[in-house]
Subunit: 510 residues, 2 copies
Amino acid sequence: MLLAMSSLQKRIENAELLAKVVPVEEAVKHVTDGNTVAISGFTKSGEPKTFFPALARHFTETAPASRITLLSGASLADDVEGPMAPFIRKRGPYMSSAASRKLIHSGEMDFTDVHLSAFARNLMYGFYGEIDVAVVEVSRILADGSVILSSSVGISAEALFRARKVILEVNTAVPDYTGFHDIALPAVHPKVGWPLPLLNVRDRIGTPNVEFDHRKVVAVVESRTPDHPVPFKGTSETDRRIAQNVIAFLLQCRDQFGWGERLPPIQSGVGNVANAIIGELYTSPFQKIRFWTEVFQDGMLRYLEDDAKFENASATAVSFSADGRRRFMELFERCRDKLVLRPMWLSNSPEIISRLFVIAMNTPIEVDIYGHVNSTHIDGSRIVNGLGGSGDFFRNAYVSIVHTPSTRPLKDGRTVSCVMPYVRHIDHTEHDIKCVVTEHGYALNMDIRSPKRRAVDIIDKCAHPHFRPLLHAYLDMAGAGDEPRPTDLKALEGWWREYGEACTSFPKGG
Amino acid sequence: MLLAMSSLQKRIENAELLAKVVPVEEAVKHVTDGNTVAISGFTKSGEPKTFFPALARHFTETAPASRITLLSGASLADDVEGPMAPFIRKRGPYMSSAASRKLIHSGEMDFTDVHLSAFARNLMYGFYGEIDVAVVEVSRILADGSVILSSSVGISAEALFRARKVILEVNTAVPDYTGFHDIALPAVHPKVGWPLPLLNVRDRIGTPNVEFDHRKVVAVVESRTPDHPVPFKGTSETDRRIAQNVIAFLLQCRDQFGWGERLPPIQSGVGNVANAIIGELYTSPFQKIRFWTEVFQDGMLRYLEDDAKFENASATAVSFSADGRRRFMELFERCRDKLVLRPMWLSNSPEIISRLFVIAMNTPIEVDIYGHVNSTHIDGSRIVNGLGGSGDFFRNAYVSIVHTPSTRPLKDGRTVSCVMPYVRHIDHTEHDIKCVVTEHGYALNMDIRSPKRRAVDIIDKCAHPHFRPLLHAYLDMAGAGDEPRPTDLKALEGWWREYGEACTSFPKGG
């Protein structure tokens, strides 16, 4: 007798695993107090969107004192992490959840900030102990029990490999992503590592599916929740000017270092400035553009339809606005040809970033006049989201660009400078940054120059004119004579007061 | 007619280049004001020891206003760099010369501090402009005009490849190093990079000689000056205790991560603590030890005679004390079998360090309670030597260890703490350090923990007991309640005064 197959049955080709389908309220019971749980998800894509809120309800109702260790690829949607936050004792390696942030700031949640490429390897090395449960969103289960992931890869393969128990969340609201992924695991000592045989952005070195011991699967649940859309604010005039300065710098490099039309692969951060740069790049003279990056996002979609402009892209996740997702769905088949999604140890691999001559770009919280970058901590104490892959890319890039608006308005009406004499937390040292860009211009750190000369350049070319005299004043106060790197916390103390006044007197619309 | 061959003739098998032998006073005329000069030399080994002092004399006598840009592998012997320092306008990427340091501090010499692996690649990419002259010490010139380097590789191959003019210094006072080297050049965009086919410490992926266009050679000079010996102070009780704590940590890792007897390859810094660790390692249970490091030094010599204890080593230079060099000469042939010398872009390659699971170790100036490392600047302003390869190794290591005595005596009788609440210059962020070691113990940063918990651990296990109460006091002052990462420059200001008193009251014999 022929039965109409449900959309879930169509996605589960393995009978054994189909038999393990249970209501999510049953599945959550496999996670208990004290567990270490590793899940799928990267930049609010591909998380277990059904399981996690259900687990939060389960803990709330039956075991409110439960606390787990939660490991993910990178950030989860607020709807996913928010309800679970009170039950997370330890968290890594990246989050953008207001609920988690609050608990981290109050000391109730332990958070360790790790380079994403290192995090995935550390997980495999056993540095975070045993993984009790892996919870991974998949778009399809193959007949052999292996799985096809969905819109992100992150640490999903490592989680499935290492965990004692596995819960699969089959998402029937997302398309079947077969053909998007390139899955491989890092070697673990004392096995000998291998040279990654990847020479081009499009190369594949692994398998399209994740192979793992599917006897570890204790439950399969269905999800009908698509990825939560990422808000997209549009491009401001400042964003556009930053983007134009980035392109101007790249054109200078092209002429100076003989790139011709062949732009090295681009890594782009996430967000409005990143999207503005991707937009400016589209109208630049560069052709056959390649992206080697973490996230394939809205601004890259137009490239898919232009074979002259675009060659291909590699990422560990796709992440779109609501509009972007509609466009992505229309271009889905074309995207499958042009985009490879990889585990984050590969997307962020120092070996590959260096070999492919990737151009790295990222937005910090603030930079100092010597080019040190604070990406994570406001006032040196309060973490915002985490380091992510910024260090993987900045350090190993052919050319590394830190781009930021020169100022940032605060809610209280004041405006702060994003170019500071000193930053109280450093994630990326001056050794790793080759170019600082704001809407006012760009300053280089590529040649042999003393830090002070570099500082003068960063102030004059990148700082907002309102703050330039104050920044020069610090350099003069701190530096005895011709000292090459004036750094003086005492001078800074007096400086800080004048700076406070300058933040208040910043001209409206300035 | 048969003539007795001079020792120089024996070393120069190419007739064309033999014809270019000139007195060093002639050769130095090829370097003129404004030139960029790239030379051999790494850790006071293999520099052009005859040419450079002669160039200094030439400038002093004929053109005292001359200033050049000097690029080397790493540090040069004081006898080599000292006389030249007044004529150096720009310097990279590492120096340990008091003369250069003084000029850098006064702002007369520009110095840029770059990761050594990145420096070599940047040089090839053209970031430092054209190389006017390469001056390279060699131990032999082959019939085809290619050369065999001597006791260091550093950037010699890049210099020979990129320079417009080449001067070879054939050193007849050093042995013929044929068979020691593994020479390859990094790829340059837009050429496609290649996966480095290196799976074991002993693997060779290049050539034993440096092939370059020898028509660029404008002069060949003879040198009869052996490498200047590196002073070696011997091992103190503190050094020995640090070394014992390093071994204790490695044994813990062995048990926790299933290493068995197979210790991952060791990178060791240079100096007394490093030599103490190498000594302790020799008497540890680990067998078949491999070194993947920058410098093969005194402490490693005893390994050469013990096939059970030692497998092999890779470095970019050998550097010995006077005693060490005598022993090295006795063991020269054995060393040729067991040691490979490579360009510093390879010895410090992130790709290889990561693939081989290297254990990285280095001594800083100071660490802070969160594990941030200051390797280069006293008081945040005055550079000591430079970053060297510490970042290449710390960042990409399987396990990274920063080891330091807990205190350091000053010349004025006070004693400072090397574990500080805050360091004013950061070269290595907390993200890159997995273990802090002093003579008192070791503290880990491998699991998921808040920075404050880590800080308590570093204070209690690593700081000197005399300074522990003060460090805890800072944490309490700076942190409002349970804040996970107390950082407060205002609290620090008051702290600093009490700390000053504690440095003065530090007990003699501490």
